[in-house]
């Protein structure tokens, strides 16, 4: 039937740290500050407007953690929403039939060439044999630049003097296939999204290769224009990912949010320096903090959360130690349990709990178990729930009949409940009984 302690813990958690709910005025005031912060961070005007509206919906009526002001609680929600919007970091795709072709595109000066070398270095570390392709015949010494980087990192660079970029790329692919080089990284020329001829050229390269990945390399300090640029590249060429460069500076990087929001394209990497090893995975939580820029508030929130978590644990231990937990409590918690999802994360916060869970194996209850337990307890009188020790033979029989179970089932529930009570008491006192697993069958 029931086989875990999670129900009791649940109820305790839910009652702790409530300080009331966020009112509309609180939210509006806080969001004014947030809006300013996001605009200062170069998040696109429209993206900010939509984001703030969405947060407002979530924030009104939300619970406030103890030790946070309403404004700070709003910021907490904003931060969480930002992280969600920025999305999970995505991996590079691989072509089903090699070689994988990665095409780097973007405006002039965004950092494509340096990024191409960084990507090659990273992929080689992962056991590949990348080929760099110098597909920019326009910019003075662009080909030299890539060749020098190739020499510095000992990665081959394919060039073809006088050839058009689409021709260079197809020739490079041919060579890569014959030499078994994989992936092939195309470093294209920087170009304006409003330059029809050059955008057509990109489309042509894409048509003739075709690439597994088309990554927009964008400067993290780009302002409101980021949206236009990304939209245009997305429309004309089609993007599979974004690499944000020059994040080692102090730009807030709002462009990341704008581009993500407007194109739906995931951020795959971030560039954090000029050296060829300065390419990192994208961390949405770090990026969210950076964009929001409310460093001091965010650390306050972090501390508040820690305190909250600690408080929960302490309250819980108190209750367990007092063993004042009765079947009424138990019924209450089970109902809450039904609304919850997996409790493992909460469980792990309690000292000793994760060890306990490991020993007990999977301590989750299933639906029918819960229904049966609920039925039994509902058939009890309040007095019986508060003082289960008064339940003798005739009461047992009545309860069984009322719930459609057998007296043996009722007995089993009571027995397990008593053991659980004792165990909680022992745990709160720091001692664990020897045969824990037995409790959970």
């Amino acid at each position: 039937m029931f086989d875990s302690l999670s129900e009791k813990l649940q109820a305790v958690f839910d009652q702790l740290g409530r300080k009331g709910k966020l009112g509309e005025k609180d939210v509006d005031e806080a969001l004014r500050q947030v809006r300013l912060a996001l605009l200062e961070a170069d998040v696109n005007f429209r993206v900010v407007r939509d984001f703030v509206a969405r947060v407002k919906e979530r924030a009104i009526g939300a619970e406030v953690l103890q030790s946070l002001s309403p404004a700070q609680q709003v910021v907490k929600i904003v931060h969480e929403q930002l992280i969600e919007l920025l999305g999970e970091p995505a991996r590079l795709s691989h072509a089903s039939a090699p070689p994988t072709v990665i095409m780097l595109v973007g405006l002039q000066g965004s950092g494509k060439t340096t990024t191409a070398a960084k990507l090659a270095v990273l992929l080689r570390k992962q056991g590949n044999q990348p080929l760099l392709v110098a597909a920019d015949p326009y910019r003075p010494a662009a080909i030299s630049q890539l060749q020098i980087l190739g020499k510095q990192t000992e990665i081959p660079v394919f060039t073809q003097a006088g050839a058009s970029p689409p021709d260079v790329c197809t020739a490079a692919l041919r060579e890569a296939r014959s030499l078994g080089q994989n992936p092939v990284i195309l470093d294209t020329a920087g170009r304006l999204h409003v330059d029809d001829e050059l955008m057509d050229e990109l489309a042509e390269i894409k048509r003739r290769t075709p690439p597994t990945e088309v990554l927009l390399v964008a400067d993290a300090m780009t302002g409101q224009d980021a949206v236009k640029v990304a939209e245009e590249f997305q429309q004309r060429v089609g993007l599979t990912g974004l690499i944000l460069t020059k994040l080692d500076g102090d730009t807030r990087g709002g462009a990341a949010l704008s581009v993500r929001q407007v194109t739906g394209v995931p951020i795959k990497f971030v560039g954090v320096g000029e050296r060829t090893d300065a390419l990192e995975q994208f961390h949405p939580d770090r990026m969210a903090s950076r964009i929001l820029g409310m460093g001091d508030v965010l650390s306050l929130i972090e501390r508040a959360q820690e305190t909250f978590d600690q408080q929960r644990v302490q309250e819980l231990q108190k209750k367990m130690r007092a063993a004042t937990f009765d079947l009424e409590d138990f019924l209450e918690q089970m109902r809450q349990l039904k609304r919850m999802g997996p409790l493992s994360q909460i469980m792990e916060m309690i000292p000793g709990m994760s060890r306990l869970m490991k020993q007990a194996g999977d301590a989750s209850l299933n639906e029918s178990d819960l229904k049966q337990i609920e039925a039994i307890i509902l058939s009890m009188t309040p007095d019986e729930r508060h003082h289960p020790e008064i339940i003798g033979g005739s009461r047992r029989r009545r309860i069984a009949r009322g719930s459609g179970m057998t007296p043996a089932d009722v007995n089993q529930l009571l027995g397990q409940f008593r053991q659980a009570q004792q165990m909680m008491k022992a745990m709160a006192g720091g001692k664990l009984p020897k045969n824990i697993a037995g409790l959970f069958r």
């Binding site: 200062e40 002039q108 326009y138 010494a141 030299s144 060749q147 300090m221 302002g223 500076g249």
Partner: protein, 316 residues
């Protein structure tokens, strides 16, 4: 109407289309909406969106619009057209500085130091400036001071060769201060009066690199030669440009700004904040990758073209 500063000599239909595309942007729409006679709350809201959308910045936009609102309430103007005019005038005012009317280059040798973060267009701008100043009768020499970036020196040398202007080179990894030293020696010896020095792009947050820049500036100053630091800013940059400008001004001095890549859709609105705060004038704008894609900065033309109405906009 007024001269577009993006006008080119050839009538290339693709180029014309491109330019039209860039101008049907935020500021273009301002003029359309302000042609309405009434100034309603909606108008103020749209103005805010347009200004912020052009990277003017939330704070500066707020100050600007509060001011306009105050003047409107006091009855200084009544119609949308009048608001349009007043706003344009105010924006032009923000771009005026004390030094703007003074010549950048002095008689005798002037060393122009090109500074800025990575990828803004310093090297290309040097080629453009060399070509421009030579056209004005100066004797120009270049110094390839970007000894860090792969093919940084070569990039400038290719340009120098194209436009036939002498360039003092260096070995990759050499001390940029040494390159400047050599450049000044060569220019002095050979009677050149304009030395444009390229420096490696650097993020203003890198203390050691900013120290290096200070050292380069000191080398020039020690020669008792007039030095001018020109900050190159990318028009697509957002509010970080203000931080960049401050830091570079502090390290190498700031005598002027060149804003590049204005042939895109970014409007460079951040310039208003920068000029207002640092008092350094915008000297040139860059509008393409060719050597003649450079124009001396004209605040009125700049603001006017931002407000220009296109045939495409009128329907909106």
């Amino acid at each position: 109407m007024f001269r577009r500063i993006f006008r080119r000599e050839e009538k290339d239909p693709k180029l014309e289309a491109g330019v039209r595309k860039t101008r049907s942007s935020f500021f273009g729409r301002i003029a359309v909406l302000l042609r309405r006679t009434e100034v309603t709350e909606d108008v103020w809201d749209e103005l805010e969106e347009l200004l912020i959308g052009a990277d003017v910045g939330a704070a500066t936009t707020d100050v600007l619009l509060q001011e306009m609102r105050g003047r409107f309430r006091r009855g200084e103007f009544r119609t949308g057209d009048q608001l349009n005019e007043a706003l344009q005038e105010r924006l032009v005012e923000l771009l005026r500085t004390d030094t703007a009317s003074l010549p950048l280059l002095s008689e005798g040798l002037t060393v122009v130091l090109m500074i800025g973060v990575n990828g803004v267009g310093k090297t290309t701008t040097i080629a453009k400036l060399g070509h421009y100043w030579r056209g004005e009768g100066r004797r120009v020499m270049l110094a390839a001071g970007d000894t860090f970036r792969a093919a940084g020196i070569e990039q400038l040398e290719v340009w120098a060769d194209r436009i036939q202007i002498p360039c003092v080179g260096a070995q990759p990894g050499a001390d940029p201060a040494a390159v400047v030293y050599d450049g000044i020696a060569a220019a002095t010896a050979r009677g050149f009066d304009t030395l444009i020095v390229d420096t490696a792009g650097r993020l203003h947050t890198k203390t050691n690199l900013m120290e290096e820049l200070k050292k380069v500036r000191r080398v020039v100053d020690r020669h008792n030669v007039p030095a001018r630091s020109l900050l190159v800013l990318d028009a697509t940059t957002g509010q970080n440009a203000v931080l960049q400008a401050r830091a570079f001004a502090q390290a190498a001095g700031l005598d002027g700004i060149v804003v590049t890549k204005l042939d895109g859709t970014a409007k460079g609105g951040v310039l208003f904040s920068i000029v207002r705060e640092l008092g350094a004038p915008v000297r040139f704008i860059g509008t393409g990758e060719r050597v003649d894609d450079l124009s001396p900065f004209d605040p009125e033309a700049f603001v006017a073209s931002l407000f220009a109405v296109d045939a495409v906009d009128v329907d909106q």
